[in-house]
Subunit: 319 residues, 6 copies
């Protein structure tokens, strides 16, 4: 019923709950402090300025606070901005909870977990299956909640699991088209490839890199998780080496963060599938609010290209 | 019943028909001329030396001649070589024909053409459908016979059509997984993307680049074919621009031969699918004779990598 | 008598007609709208702010409007700015016309066309001559008016034709110095090489890229124009391939937008001449207002270099 | 007394024991098999051809066999070659053992181990000290015998430990010159940085890469060794992360095999020291037989440079 | 006793002498002129705005003026700023002199010169020693005062000499560890390598590049200084070539400004030592005010990395 | 009358004087020594084998010897080879001299020197003129004889002067087309730019790099020559800096050997002209023996391209 913040137009009045994503204190040219707020709900974000803030305001309107706001949407230098008329923090009486204000995957946690487990079930090599099952179990909660990145693609709650599910579906269709591919390696590789992100990233809201993430990176964390899982399960042999290789090589080459380039057929295919899903996701995200006949903003992670939506393609749903 | 030349081992006697793929005259250290022959059938190739040739021999044992040979397979510096005991050219009496000695696609020409036409049938935008159908019709024979390249991948008779069919199948599964993708653009892009190769390459046997191929390249040839087809069909409008853009951008970036990088979602996906099919094909080809537990030769087109076949994968079928 | 806007110094009063090149609405920190205007005449441009604009102002002071302005030139953060005292739109009564406010080539359209036609006349190969003559005729008006780029070099009315004329003169002197060069190919290559820009760019004022320009680029557009011209004229043969090759390869390599690197002597020389004229033009433009003994601003298109004008070189003419 | 094989000149007779480093079967132009032998002792290597070999010879003169040879040193196309007059395999009666024929570090195993342990003793942070001590103990034998590489630098028995000892000495002098450096981290980083090579390489003679080495690489192996050691010792905390980071980043950047670039001061310095020792070692090796006033052969790993020995530098000792 | 400007916290009152490093006039949105001042003492710098300046102010508060200021330290958009309450220029009566407000090397000029001369004394080759001594003498004053760069590393008074002294100490320890290195070449190379900077840079305060520096660069200037010194001293021979080669190659490769890559062992080592000292200096500078457990700002000259200070390292001294 | 060695076809008898360019001893598979000779005259070169040579032969048939040869031209693995029937060294009685067997510039030394001096005469700035005149005088003989390179372009006697003359002619036409260019700087830059080659290269026959060339390179040598000339002539001032800058920057950027990129208009144009003349010369050389309708061999220095000669271009003169 209620359309989200993403769908408000310039000139519309706003009267709703919003989550403070980030709050940054700045000093205006009149030397008074003000806050730049990034406010969001499950559909998107909008910037707002809170002028002339008191020290008390600074401790009230922080990161991860849900507030109630009245105001108008204005156009400031070509970007939408929310002009605040009134703002108040919420209490339990408001009956609002943080998860309702966070973007999340189009599938539920249960659906995604079921689907991943179905693929694990199809893995026939017992060593590969056991390591994969063990690690998904071990990190189940984080696996199902974590985003796949801090920005660019799948940067929402459940993004990691959703990225894995999408890749598994591509993997399945490729194993049907190319009988030379080993589904065991490909499924296990897909399911595990970004698992290190549950330790590299700080969680689903206001996601940042952990110290471990910055010093080791999800690829090395993930390779180590596999080694430890195998030790705990008493599994050894070439399967173990190859699972680690799939993990280490999935970024394709050194410049992109992989200490080893893929030298197993399924490792190369894992890298290609990762690319396909990430790139389609990035383009979808940037094109979803572009009108037919227009170009999108530039996408840094896609060589800074701006994408065109043909005039004979559909208008975005909610415009 | 009769295994092909690829399956002969060192020490085996050979008594069979073979096609001369290339014949190169050289001078031995005793100042006598000899020929280095690359002999092949539908399964592969082997090198042979024909020592002490007369001028008459030089004009008899040329390129695209079928010969009957007796001899032995030997190991020369780590590579197989056919030591010729006797050799004779064939006559119509032998009842052998050149097409039986050439590697070709695993699907028949009819099967491939049917499948491509089925996809054309599914294209709903009439401009896109008509241009695609027109060009496949116009070049039908060459399209069905041409290799997709002179080396690296799909370098066999029918390789171009087979490459297209494989890509269409991936395209279909991606359009099912990602509803944002426009199947019309993707199918048309896949079918047309390498069509310029029918003028860039010299045909199915002993394939080389034509002068036009060297001066213009299949990408520019293809874009021009689309423009001419549209003119002939009286088609104009954005569809035409976009079909040409799909053609021009399918190598992804300037360094790889595309004068424009993809700026349409389906153009980027076309490039990604092309990559997936080409790379899997290259890996399959190089791994198909590698024993489990061994590394392949290096593959120049895959960053000079050598690929490993896990010990728990199957042995090649014919070893 | 009347010096242009480029020659006004800080502190001088301004009372003159100027063309609005671009008008951009912004919001000041007091939440009021203002316009940032780029105002120009045939000598150059200056920025101005129009504060506190009404909705009516926004529709009056737009792109391509000639206005009459009174004000002062000030220095704002190291750059000249025009401080507006009064501004009014013009009517036919003012007797001013847009072409007088646009930078244009130092030669007249007729002079340039005459010179180009003289070179076409000197081409001896009939196929090459006919295609060249046909295309110049077909696009004559646009060819004579179009800039050669949106920025960097020859970005003024008639810039394309002027760039061609300058290159033809270099080409002529090189064919005299190097008898191995074929003047026919070189002249035709020079005349046609940027012709695709008449469809890639939107025209002489407020030049932008067309959709066709963004999706195909002037190189592919140009190659297609040659192919169509040849078809219409019934011309075939190697000349046609080579003219297209000259077009496709004139940026020198893939990274610079050419799908083929030059493999014809004259194609390489065409690329070199294009480079020489473009680079000298860029340096002239940036150095023309630099005082002897000073460095210019940085030039992005020349590897971000800043150029030095020796103290023993002449002062700019109008300082 | 007895000079090594490296010091024989063209024309000298040879009558000595030598180790077959590699033996490769080839076929001569007369179709007879011959062996190309790389023969060596502790000073260097020389090539020899063994003509007309029988099948029995092929199984006798293999890899890692010590043979007794009589013959002459000749010059073959600018390189020294040993022309074999007689050759026989050795028996226990000959009283020769393989280690005497292998190049090894200039320090004894005991000396190197003592020095490394002394540095471990100086590490004051208990977590860092314990992990370092544990891993050196765990792999002590391999650590003391392994080369540091298969070629380029420190490619001899004990090369790994010798490389570590040299780097420790540089590290010590740098910590004295730059008080900001933490000796604990630097010493531990130096001692552990290449430890993964004990699993990446196959050992001291005829060194090759193991499967694990090819699929994971010594950097990832080493990071995993640290993680496991810490687990076994019950050590956690930031020291553990940082030791792993030192390991992961010591090649400096992605293109050179490090999944993370150094972001700790000591990690950057570790990378720099590794570079200094490796490069000096490479230059020493290539210059050690160059006459003053001459240029060396090209060194691939040093950007293919050829190094010059000044005329006022000393002649090589054994010329 | 009196802590420097670098150590003032937000909210602290400031009442002290400071040097104007740079003064830049700007226009505020109310059209009034203001000055942005970079104020500094020997410990660091802080930005301040001087609002509403008169033309007289503009000529008073310029570059290299010592002023007395009262005000407060505030936080402006995350950076410290000095809010000026009162400001006045100083007169001789204030008894302050410019050198007290400039960062300088941790060793005195005499100490550094003594140490350099001691190394010159140790050079045994007379040609090398005489050229080195001559050039240090010739440029002694500038050598002892010049910074080593305008930013990044050793960018303070005496920075050049301090950089040389640090490198000499590393050079000494390397010649002890690696007997193959020639101390004469290494010491002379270190002492002379950046000498051209005395002509490339404008001096110790507000350092900029000279015209000669911009057109020729310190490497070519230095090589020419050596050639002229040798001529004046009547020195010829290979030593001269090699000293020039050390100079020309010390940046390691073309992209980094060296017209020749090192092809002498000591030239390569000179380049490596230069790197080690510069990088440690850059990291020290950026980490010196970072709290344990925090990351530094990004360092452009170190591939834009941000460095981490471990929690178990010491707090900065003056926090 | 007598056609040169370049014009002999396979099968023709040869009976003429030839110069031994290089003589390399090798060992045949029968263990006998033979010489590989590169024989040449003023038109080109041909390879020959001299089998079964005695030690005396080895000292007779060396580098820079003129021999009389009888034999036949044969085709060996696709390349022409001279099969020697008889060979003898020449004596003064033969009346042949070495200069007749060396390729040289198409203009005489006098013509070239006159033309260069004419351009020097046109230089109006006295400082620039005097330095230029002084250096041409100082190295006049070497300047007139030296090749411009050891391979690739202008690699013949007088090549350096011829390269300069060609560039001067281009420079003259550019200064006529672009009045902004300063002819003084451009002419002096052209004349001096490669002068360092008289010390970098060993002379006109069997040209190699000198030690000075390898350690310093012609760019630094040349900059130093200018500095010394100016000192000797008592010339100072900006002209001197700029002449050195023209020298240092004429390769365009660091990767190509210039320690400074051009930052003077004429320096950039000098680099462009150098490029134009060198590239046209390389293409002319490689195309001069290519038949119309054929591709040339690949040219390493032109990005490994193979060039096409159109069918409508002329056949090479002497085929």
């Amino acid at each position: 019923m209620d359309k989200g913040i993403k769908h408000h137009q310039v000139g519309e009045a706003v009267d709703r709950y919003l989550l403070i994503k980030t709050a940054t204190k700045q000093i205006a040219s009149n030397s008074k402090a003000f806050l730049t707020l990034i406010l969001g709900d499950h559909t998107g974000e909008i910037e707002a300025k809170l002028w002339g803030v008191s020290p008390e305001d600074e401790t009230t309107f922080v990161n991860k606070t849900i507030v109630h706001i009245q105001g108008d949407v204005i156009d400031y230098r070509g970007r939408l901005q929310l002009k605040i008329a009134s703002i108040r923090p919420t209490s339990p009486m408001d009956g609002v909870k943080i998860n309702d204000f966070v973007r999340s995957a189009p599938l539920s946690a249960e659906e995604m977990l079921d689907e991943v487990n179905q693929y694990i079930f199809e893995i026939q090599n017992p060593s590969i299956q056991r390591v994969t099952r063990f690690l998904v179990k071990k990190h189940q909660q984080a696996f199902i909640e974590s985003p796949a990145a801090t920005k660019n693609h799948h940067e929402f709650m459940g993004g990691l699991a959703y990225h894995v599910v999408s890749m598994l579906r591509i993997a399945k269709s490729l194993t049907q088209l190319y009988p030379s591919l080993d589904p065991d390696l490909l499924y296990a590789g897909v399911i595990l490839h970004d698992l290190g992100k549950v330790r590299e990233l700080s969680g689903a809201i206001d996601t940042t890199y952990t110290l471990e993430g910055k010093l080791l990176g999800h690829i090395s964390i993930g390779a180590n998780e596999i080694a430890e899982a195998a030790k705990e399960l008493g599994i050894d042999g070439e399967e173990l080496l190859i699972l680690q290789h799939l993990m280490l090589s999935h970024h394709g080459k050194g410049e992109w963060g992989s200490p080893k380039a893929p030298v197993i057929r399924e490792a190369e295919v894992l890298h290609l599938i990762d690319n396909v899903d990430a790139k389609i996701n990035m383009m979808d995200r940037v094109l979803e609010r572009v009108e037919p006949g227009e170009f999108s903003e530039r996408v840094m992670a896609l060589e800074n290209r701006s994408f065109y939506k043909p005039t004979f393609h559909k208008k975005p749903l909610d415009l």
